[in-house]
Symmetry: C2
């Protein structure tokens, strides 16, 4: 199990409800891949969304995001944290 | 007060000690700008570091990072979170 930070771009104007909805869609199916989406932060102005998750691989994280219609533009394994 | 996610690139090979040291350097002077660095995550392979902070402005966050020798490449105000 590792931790991953993924970045979604082009989400300009995303609302609190849309972020919640997208996050809940991921949570609803995350167990299929052994992933857990912990937290997400959004900057509606630049359209950037960051998601922090744990899971077996970046590919597993991406498969969940793809199935819920919002593939990540970048996924980085974050092996260090403070 | 807002929340900010900043991104540092080019930190390839960063170690746990180096991340801790950089974070502690920020913590030591953050009060000068009314900023608080909450958390940082690093991917040593791609050299990407994400920092989550709170503070009065992105400029205040950047001034702390500049003084400790690691200016951020991007800082986004994250006004939404789940």
């Amino acid at each position: 199990m590792g931790m991953y930070m993924d970045v979604h771009r082009g989400m300009t104007g995303i609302t609190a409800d849309q972020l919640k909805e997208a996050h809940e869609a991921d949570l609803a199916i995350e167990k299929d891949e052994g992933v857990h989406f912990q937290k997400a932060w959004a900057d509606p102005e630049s359209g950037t969304v960051y998601c922090l998750s744990s899971g077996p691989s970046a590919e597993a994280v991406q498969r969940i995001h793809e199935r819920t219609g919002h593939a990540a533009d970048e996924i980085h394994p974050v092996t260090l944290m403070v």
